[in-house]
């Protein structure tokens, strides 16, 4: 068949397909175009014929262009984001954390180990903190948690708008740290390990120092609530990063690039959960931790309950056979 005959015979079909693509690309009535798969396959056949018969570049290229657009509409991954999100929060995320328990354990040991270790060391040998943190920052920390000043740098009478300021700040700062900890994993896990140790050491040093100089009450009652979510989130983002690094160090039977891709697909889900944790943490930190009206005892109790909640959630949620889906 001559090219011009072929073209004139199918021209109307192609034009109609182009219109259909326009509509799909604008996201209109996507489900209602029942004939799309059939038309798409037919177009693929036309392209194959055009190539096989040696038709001109213009025809082959424009058919190719149409097929590519069709391919992108036909094979796109459409997810019901709302339903998936709920199932993910209720079951998927804790399941994933348990599934990756080796990395979670490793990251947890690195982070909490260095935190507690450094905290004890600084408590016993107070001068150590000056090796890690510049003097001005230590002074700043001290004035922030000074029980006599009684304002926590965040006074009792502080306006709601100020909570809002801190909420924004915490979101930016903490999620930024979590993202860095995760991304660093691409450097064979070294970046994640570095950020886990670095943050663990810094937080531990501050905690140890403040407890040593007698500001323990203000400090611990402030941090215990949101710490449950914030610290575990940092450890989890580290776990996600270590997973990336491990995929590069020990790819198993896959090529390194492929192994990295598989690991990355899983770890990005962990990061979604981490973001959720950090949003909750920022909320608690801005609106509950900063309140000075409740007694420290209440704060410790609520804080302990929150830690328990996180532990129970990560350990037990989604274990039932009929997990919500």
């Amino acid at each position: 068949m001559k090219q011009s005959l072929f073209e004139s015979r199918h021209k109307a079909e192609w034009e109609q397909f182009a219109l259909m693509l326009d509509r799909l690309e604008r996201g209109k009535e996507a489900s209602r175009i029942a004939s799309f798969p059939k038309d798409y396959r037919r177009l693929c056949q036309h392209l194959a014929l055009a190539r096989e018969r040696g038709y001109s570049s213009f025809l082959v290229d424009s058919l190719q262009h149409q097929v590519l657009r069709g391919h992108q509409q036909f094979y796109r991954h459409r997810s019901q984001l709302g339903a998936n999100a709920l199932a993910f929060i209720l079951a998927g995320f804790p399941q994933l954390v348990r599934q990756q328990w080796r990395f979670v354990l490793a990251a947890g040991l690195m982070f909490f180990g260095s935190l507690i270790g450094m905290g004890l060391l600084v408590y016993l040998f107070p001068d150590l903190i000056y090796n890690l943190i510049p003097t001005e920052q230590v002074t700043e920390m001290q004035s922030m948690y000074d029980p006599v000043a009684g304002h926590l740098g965040r006074s009792a009478e502080r306006a709601a708008s100020e909570d809002w300021v801190m909420f924004g700040y915490y979101i930016m700062h903490n999620i930024g740290i979590a993202f860095q900890t995760f991304a660093g994993g691409l450097l064979f896990g070294l970046g994640s390990a570095f950020f886990l140790f670095f943050n663990g050491l810094t937080i531990g040093a501050v905690a140890g120092h403040l407890t040593h100089i007698g500001y323990g009450q203000t400090f611990w009652s402030f941090v215990i609530g949101h710490g449950a979510f914030e610290l575990s989130a940092i450890a989890l983002s580290g776990a996600a990063g270590l997973q990336l690094g491990w995929a590069l160090i020990a790819p198993g039977r896959l090529p390194r690039a492929e192994s990295l891709r598989v690991a990355a697909r899983k770890s990005v889900l962990l990061i979604c959960g981490v973001m959720l944790f950090l949003l909750i943490a920022a909320f608690i930190e801005a609106y509950w931790s900063s309140m000075t009206a409740p007694t420290p005892m209440t704060k410790y109790l609520v804080g302990a309950a929150l830690w328990l909640l996180v532990a129970v959630y990560l350990l037990f949620a989604g274990r039932t056979r009929h997990a919500p889906e």
Binding site: S56, H71, F182, R265, I271
Partner: protein, 241 residues
């Protein structure tokens, strides 16, 4: 002479010299994608960077009037713009951030399908590593050594930055009397002759003459008539309009 160099019908073509990346679809079609190199991606990124700076600058000046509330909103915005700008545009605007759109680029998955939330989030989170140790050094190295110009984030997320296809305009074939070629043409020869006729408008007269003269001998025509002869063959291949 010409027959011996041309490929037999149905022969697989030798790998092309250009950077095309073939995606085989489930329908058995090979779709060629054209990956974009470092330079144009850097340009697209600088446009995005400037745009983000502009957005933040404008918003901060507005928010400055709102006092404390503004400061809180400001840091959320800073977070949103610095980590989510690319992700939102890539997912909601068919793989194109404004900079990419301007430079005619788009992000797709390795298999040519549109980029999704998780892949886009991944490639943009891992940007942090591409930035190391300064000014996208690792990203640039990775991009330069990879056959389809992937930076580290693209490697992990399985994504690809390609040139978006522009709609083609139908080329005008030069008028000529349809003629039969003196020997049977192979598929590639047929494509080459049609290509010659379709692209004639873009070439200078002298170049057209020069190209056609190469074929004068196998076509058994005097050199000055080679162009009309080739156009005639192209006409006959195309069929009556």
């Amino acid at each position: 002479m010409l027959e011996s160099t041309a490929l037999p019908r149905k022969a697989t073509l030798s790998p092309p010299l250009d950077t095309r990346y073939q995606v085989e679809t489930p329908e058995g079609i090979d779709l060629p994608l054209r990956p974009a190199g470092l330079m144009i991606r850097a340009l697209a990124f600088s446009i995005d960077l400037g745009l983000r700076g502009l957005i933040l600058g404008l918003l901060f000046t507005v928010l400055a009037f709102l006092g404390k509330l503004g400061a809180g909103l400001g840091s959320i915005l800073l977070f949103g713009v610095s980590w989510w700008y690319m992700v939102l545009f890539e997912v909601l605007n068919q793989g194109r951030s404004p900079g990419k759109q301007w430079m005619g680029l788009r992000v797709v998955q390795d298999d040519g399908t549109p980029v999704g939330w998780s892949a886009s989030l991944l490639r943009n989170l891992l940007r942090f590593v591409d930035l190391l140790p300064f000014g996208y050094f690792l990203g640039a190295i990775s991009c330069l050594q990879h056959p389809t110009f992937k930076r580290l984030g693209d490697l992990a997320a399985g994504t690809l930055v390609i040139y978006s296809e522009k709609p083609l305009t139908r080329p005008e074939l030069p008028e000529a009397q349809p003629r039969r070629p003196v020997f049977a043409l192979t598929l590639t020869e047929q494509r080459a002759i049609l290509g010659f006729a379709e692209r004639q408008g873009e070439l200078s007269g002298a170049r057209v003459q020069e190209l056609a003269t190469i074929l004068a001998q196998p076509l058994q025509v005097p050199a000055p008539r080679a162009v009309t002869e080739l156009n005639g063959i192209a006409r006959s291949l195309l069929g009556p309009a």
